[in-house]
Subunit: 427 residues, 2 copies
């Protein structure tokens, strides 16, 4: 048999008040799916013993494995361990190794452990204790009914994994301690493979037209599209009973997608980002880049220097927000600014050429625009943006009118500039 | 009586595969809490009629109002309307106004509506239809049992609100169409007020020491702390049966917090951000600022120019990633770089002074450091960062060793620099 279906429970009143995103649940869903398990429920309950018990009993009916995160702290609102012991008909016992680890943890920080922390060392008798090297509260794993000894008559047959709520602790304990226990017990393993295909340069409706008949979401196949400022992502997930079948299916779908979507729109796969792809091309081509930014205010420089090793190609960036800076640093002529304005083809061109020359760079990108919310006019509306790309021989300028808010317009302008550079380096 | 408790259900297999964050659920939780409702459950189910029906029946036992998002599309995996009609014992009928609106929507885009879309106009008979002006699928509201006519014997007594999944449509339909219906029915209204107090400059443990005995999370009071790269946030939520009581309670807690936490640590409240607070101070004091960045690569400039109106104080930013740029643009002396290195007190000082002088600015900030992951040595480890602040008379340099990854170190360095400027402007 083994475990094939899973339910995820997060506890915390603040989640139900909308104060925090429940990042643990999403992360756990991703991990369990990657292990081939089918997640049938993901739910959050407040720090209230009755609600948690009720939800746990419901989840136990729907899945072979229930994972609960949170509620293992030392304060009165941390009721999970008591609820779990009651539902599974187990006594709570103090785990002395957990006590020792907690005392040592406090000692290393030169502090005495408050006695109130001792409650965190209580675990259901017969559970496998998961010793926490990343925080104080231990987690525990109650194996499925067939592995337990004397079974409590009303105890659910599912397995229960209890993990502390802080994400750093939860991630580490799941990976290091829980996953080996689960893998021994996951039945009828199914293999899950994912591929994300990143595009930039065409709107969602256009990308959709190429692939619309491939869209579907079933338990074994998900083909979806997501619009992000960083472009339109196509996401493919396949599940199959063998790795070969899953690989074959994924490769077929990827190939079919690549056959349909124009090659120049696809900038990368999976964890690739547009700045990282451009950074790699610049490094490989030994190209020295300079950047001059007005409306994007340093964002292009920031995106490129996010990449480790960017000193190989990034010479310098000039954030010339004020006109005086455009003149002083980039040598933009006062009459250019007077006659055409700071947001104009002519100013963009002069910025790029100035930036390239003073850095003695191979290429320079320049951006000037009106990010909003104010500063727009009928002739030069919010979103109007000029991007210039200069090399040692030529300078080209493109004009755009972006339709988002300030944050979107700045990000989209920066990525559009990087994408232009990518296309130039492709040829 | 009226509605006092709520449950939120999101449907979508991709949520349970961890592919997307369930942003609708968090947003709805926040809205319902602000209306004084108590959210008792937030759960996601796959696009599977059996799972959705089961979860809906469970949620109906826990709450007076169940809100379901998603699953109203035109494809085969959109099963929600059928499930809802079955559970509430209502027939599905075609709403002709919804059909007309959908046809008009397609016509406006110059397209014929595919007949497959007609299924989206089916709604449970007797439900209040929520006409969707922001997308295709209408939503609907099934009022609580006491308002319904002939009641189906197994139908839950709760009210049901069904909304389409795309966030833009869901937000608009909830605000414009659903909220008025809910407000008429929310019983024993409770008033919810929130306050976030933002601190920067002290670790979580220190902030915690000032306020640890105020921590609690109950249905009527939540006092929590959250560590973010942008500092330590203290969050207070109070609920009370009158606005006066809630206001009084919140003000007391805020006052008590301010009495305990050193004033210089608190940079703002609620939606305030550190860059925005600094931007406002610079604008009010008519101060011209220049920035020179090495390891942060434009992030300080980006954060400041995120703020609309930053041209009032931001003169220019120089991203001098390479040593040649530090010499050429900032006039850092070659022997300073040779003798002390690019990451040194001396280089930081020279960068700030150079940046201030060439911009003729009142203040200049400079940052040089080793963001990682590589580039560290025993003497100069990853995370080592020098920040310099120059004014027309003096230059001061501070040394830090940040302990995070590249992204964290860069963000924390940028915010530490801005916070220093804030403290300087406070005096």
């Amino acid at each position: 048999m083994g475990l094939t279906t899973a339910a995820i429970i997060s506890t915390g009143t603040e989640i139900l008040q909308g104060l925090y995103a429940d990042t643990n649940a999403r992360w756990l869903a991703e991990q369990l799916s990657a292990e081939g398990m089918e997640v049938r429920l993901s739910a959050a309950a407040p720090d209230d013993a009755e609600e948690i018990e009720s939800l746990l009993r419901y989840a136990a009916q729907r899945a072979d494995l229930v994972i609960c995160s949170g509620g293992l702290g030392p304060t009165a609102d941390d009721v999970n361990r008591e609820v779990f012991a009651r539902v599974f008909g187990m006594a709570l016992v103090r785990d002395e190794r957990a006590v020792t680890m907690m005392r040592e943890r406090f000692a290393r920080r030169g502090r005495e452990m408050p006695e109130s922390n001792l409650v965190q060392a209580l675990v259901p008798e017969g559970a496998i204790v998961l010793y926490n090297e990343w925080g104080t509260a231990p987690g525990f794993f109650i194996p499925p009914a067939e592995e337990r000894g004397r079974a409590h008559v009303h105890a659910p047959s599912c397995a229960l994994l209890a993990l502390p709520g802080p994400p750093r602790e939860l991630y580490a304990m799941f990976r290091e301690l829980a996953l080996p226990l689960l893998r021994e017990r996951i039945g009828a393993r199914r293999y899950v493979l994912k591929r994300v295909i990143h595009t930039f340069g065409a709107p969602e409706s256009e990308v959709g037209q190429y692939v619309h008949d491939l869209f579907a979401t079933t338990a074994d196949y998900a083909y979806t599209m997501l619009a992000k400022p960083h472009g339109i992502d196509i996401r493919i997930v396949v599940r199959a009973s063998s790795l070969e079948e899953a690989t074959l299916r994924l490769n077929e779908l990827e190939k079919e997608t690549r056959r349909r979507v124009p090659q120049e729109l696809i900038y990368g796969y999976d964890d690739d980002t547009l700045p990282a792809v451009v950074a790699k091309m610049l490094t490989n081509h030994h190209i020295r880049l300079a950047v001059a930014e007005s409306c994007t205010g340093g964002l292009v420089s920031k995106l490129l220097t996010d990449i480790p090793g960017s000193s190989a190609f990034f010479v310098q960036g000039l954030v010339t927000y004020a006109n005086e800076a455009k003149m002083r640093l980039l040598g933009v002529h006062p009459t250019t600014l007077e006659k055409h304005g700071a947001v104009s083809e002519q100013t963009a061109r002069a910025m790029a050429e100035g930036a390239r020359q003073i850095a003695d760079a191979d290429y320079a990108l320049a951006i000037t625009g009106i990010a909003g919310p104010s500063g727009g006019t009928a002739a030069k509306p919010v979103g109007l943006t000029y991007i210039a790309l200069a090399d040692r021989a030529n300078t080209n300028v493109q004009r755009f009118v972006f339709g988002g808010d300030r944050e979107f317009n700045r990000m989209f302008a920066a990525l559009t500039a990087l994408n232009w550079l990518r296309l130039k380096l492709m040829t």
